[in-house]
């Protein structure tokens, strides 16, 4: 009984923190120039759009991210709150870890894994080597 109560109390105290979780997603389209993508970034906090952030977008290759990355660009706020637009100039197709550096209302960094192809970009869903129990 006491355990359940403690659990409940902890849950409710944690709620505001839960609400603070910052998330991002990406919608990209390849432009006419090779490997330059027009990207729309949606950023939310606790499920609500987060406007007014200064967003810098970079990208790393998962293999050797320190040496293989592209120059980060500043994103501009889009028409809808919580949306930001950026042009990403990648070196090649394939998987990139897009790095969003957020400043302003939040000071945070998001890493989004996307597969970039001839059309646009899809979130990476990776299978495990062994099935999980």
């Amino acid at each position: 009984m006491a355990k359940a109560a403690l659990g409940l109390i902890l849950f409710f105290t944690a709620l505001p923190l839960l609400a603070q979780k910052v998330e991002g997603e990406l919608a990209c389209r390849l432009t006419k120039t090779d490997f330059i993508y027009d990207c729309m970034i949606r950023i939310s906090r606790g499920g609500l759009p987060l406007p007014g952030a200064a967003v810098t977008v970079g990208a790393d290759m998962p293999s050797m991210p320190m040496a293989h990355n592209v120059k980060p660009v500043k994103a501009t706020p889009g028409k809808t709150p919580g949306e930001y637009a950026a042009k990403l100039d990648l070196e090649m197709l394939g998987e990139w870890a897009v790095k969003l550096r957020l400043r302003g209302p939040v000071n945070d960094q998001l890493i989004l894994l996307y597969e970039f192809d001839e059309k646009g970009a899809q979130p990476v869903r990776r299978g495990d080597r062994l099935p999980r129990k």
Binding site: L18, T56, M66, A67
Partner: protein, 295 residues
């Protein structure tokens, strides 16, 4: 300094740790293709410590170095008996084994309602100590370079000491070193452990710089580059590997002249240098000459 300069300088600093780790083994006569494994051990150890258990980064970094040294010691026990190419292959295999272990680790804890921790190939997100503690990019850069300078100072001190001379004896001719009374096996294990700790320190910092790590970060690419940096920069002084990193990331990557073709240019550069300057730009001869000029 703009964000980009700060991030490039941070990357140069981070990768210098693993380049120095490879350098330490090369001057002791061992060509390891596996230092990326210990870099990964450091990244995962420190990430787990700060993100899952709230350990402050400085303590987590020390833990990472301990874990890196222990892992390198255990890998060294069987592999250091091997010579040359066989040692290179064995270290590569060991690092790949470590990477696969990272892929298999699913070890998470609920923190603020969110599962945090290594999640196999899905990676390990939310290593946010730097952000939670309000460390600005410039502050983190200063931390990385401060530690790097401390390490380089230690190297320079060591190179002037008997320890450094012994390392070079081992590197040039382990059999002759043995005849002069060096306990070769014990010494090499110690060097391997120190190099592991150094790579792990770089990994710990990298994990906190990026906030996200995944097993693929620690594959052969990183190992080959760290070796190449040491070989390009030169084996005469600890500034050699730093010069190597600076040439690749600072000049080639930073200038963006070669864009997507950079790897080809880099590969060519390595080949040309290994033919004309097999011990790198700052090799022993240049260092001896410089010392005479400065003395």
């Amino acid at each position: 300094m703009d964000d980009y300069t700060v991030s490039v300088l941070t990357n140069i600093g981070l990768i210098s740790f693993i380049a120095l780790s490879a350098y330490l083994l090369i001057i002791a006569g061992e060509m390891s293709f596996g230092q990326q494994g210990f870099f990964g051990v450091g990244a995962y150890t420190a990430g787990v410590a700060t993100a899952m258990y709230g350990v402050p980064l400085p303590i987590a970094a020390v833990m990472a170095m301990g874990a890196g040294a222990a892992a390198a010691f255990l890998v060294g026990l069987p592999t250091l008996r091997l010579r040359g190419l066989y040692f290179a292959m064995a270290t590569l295999a060991a690092a790949e084994m470590l990477r696969i272990v990272f892929e298999l680790i699913h070890f998470q804890r609920e923190i603020d309602g969110e599962p945090i921790g290594p999640d196999g190939t899905q990676g390990f997100r939310g290593i946010r100590w730097v952000f939670e503690n309000g460390v600005e990019p410039e502050g983190f850069l200063a931390m990385v370079w401060g530690l790097l300078f401390a390490v380089v100072a230690l190297f320079l001190f060591m190179e002037r000491s008997k320890l450094g001379a012994t390392l070079r004896m081992l590197g040039e001719d382990p059999e002759l070193a043995r005849m002069l009374g060096v306990h070769v096996e014990r010494f090499k294990l110690g060097v391997a452990a120190a190099a592991g700790a150094l790579a792990a320190l770089g990994g710990a910092l990298y994990a906190h710089h990026n906030t996200y790590i995944e097993p693929r970060n620690f594959d052969i690419m990183l190992g080959v580059h760290s070796l190449a940096y040491a070989l390009i920069g030169g084996l005469g002084t600890a500034f050699g590997p730093l010069l190597g990193v600076l040439i690749d990331i600072g000049a080639l990557e930073g200038s963006r002249v070669f864009h997507g073709y950079r790897m080809i240019v880099f590969g060519g550069l390595v080949a040309v240098l290994l033919i004309f300057r097999p011990r790198g730009l700052l090799d022993e001869r240049v260092v001896h000459w410089l010392k005479r000029r400065l003395a």
